[in-house]
Symmetry: C2
């Protein structure tokens, strides 16, 4: 599976959260990061190139800071100009049909304000309906979004947890079963091991994989026992 | 009351519906029409001028075609760049506080598709939450929006009905009581009479106003009778 992360941020170098997440996936060979404002500093989008990029990926993600309860305008321009009738919807070919779509939104305000009675009044689920409608119209499966609230106030543990969720949205298949999550984690750990010359780290990762696999064997064993009990 | 209509449409001269509505309000002295793409052909928005324009009006309307369940990107750019912290929200002055805000949206697809089970899945009310949230954040009263579905397929009567709704959203005070609607209509008719040299038309309008006023006297009389009946 190949993932395209379309990032829109007018001042990305000044954004600690954007830098943190984007830096973390530099080695991922199945992920393409595409920052619109860097690619098109004059704002003139190459529509054919953008459509080719979409065609060559299976999962499309939009990553942006929440500006007026939506994306920065450059991503809106991209939608208006790239997702044309005859390409993304309408009679004939629907180029995005069957792909997966997700949102990664950086939000400066506390999560609790996004509800009735809060300063922002509506939930992220309500405010992102236009993107959900876009996924529906183009035939893409809408994934659970990742909303990152107040990254600047997070401690290291919260940042690490958020980073793992970010990596999952970028690279894990859309199935949150225990098996899928374990398989994904082992795969990521093995990738981290190759190309790493630190012997101690490699040893630790190998040990972590061993523990995960043993746990899975235990769970598989318990499942067989359960099935025996259920059998009439 | 002064009304500012901020229009966003990248090819406004090609849009029959935009031309129809905008042409109809050319004589309205309490309405300012401001088309962003004409005002800023190079896309560089004059923030100070836009903020001054907002300050000098009481009702702010956004008028645009529905592109990907939102406005064209130029209006998003306007939001991102003009509605700054310290002007539109945040500590200190909130320049838009107490004003009214409304949407006029031109939609090419049949209204029935905007619901669960329809091709667009979500209602206009759901899809415009980001604008509702903006009105809330800036302290503006959100008016009932005007969604114009498939203008091109309307007959003359439907177009006239829609035009009256449009004029109401632009100029009628936000109170849909019978009195307000009558007062608004008489006012509009009197304006149509002045500056019109056609004697027959003037006579007809004068007659229409007379009928409306007589109806109102009848209703006032009936109300007094009702109050008498209710009195213990």
């Amino acid at each position: 599976m190949k993932t395209l992360v379309i990032v829109s941020h007018p001042e990305i170098l000044d954004s600690a959260s954007q830098q943190f997440f984007l830096h973390s996936v530099k080695g991922f060979d199945d992920v393409t990061v595409h920052h619109l404002e860097s690619a098109y500093p004059d704002g003139q989008i190459n529509v054919a190139e953008e459509q080719a990029l979409l065609n060559s990926h299976d999962r499309i993600l939009f990553q942006f800071p929440f500006y007026w309860y939506s994306s920065p305008y450059m991503l809106k321009k991209w939608q208006d100009e790239v997702l044309l009738e005859g390409f993304a919807y309408g009679e004939g070919r629907r180029a995005l049909y069957g792909k997966e779509f997700g949102l990664i939104i950086m939000i400066g305000i506390n999560e609790r304000e996004y509800q009735a009675g809060g300063s922002e009044r509506f939930s992220i689920n309500e405010l992102t309906k236009p993107f959900q409608a876009m996924a529906h119209k183009t035939g893409m499966t809408y994934l659970r979004p990742l909303a990152v609230f107040q990254f600047g106030y997070m401690d290291d543990e919260e940042k690490t947890e958020t980073l793992i969720k970010y990596w999952q949205l970028l690279t894990m298949k859309n199935d949150h079963s225990l098996e899928t999550r374990e398989e994904w984690l082992i795969n990521r750990l093995q990738k981290a091991m190759t190309g790493n010359s630190d012997a101690e780290l490699t040893q630790r990762i190998r040990f972590a994989i061993q523990v995960i696999e043993e746990n899975r064997q235990t769970i598989d064993g318990l499942k067989m026992v359960l099935e025996d009990i259920r059998r009439p």
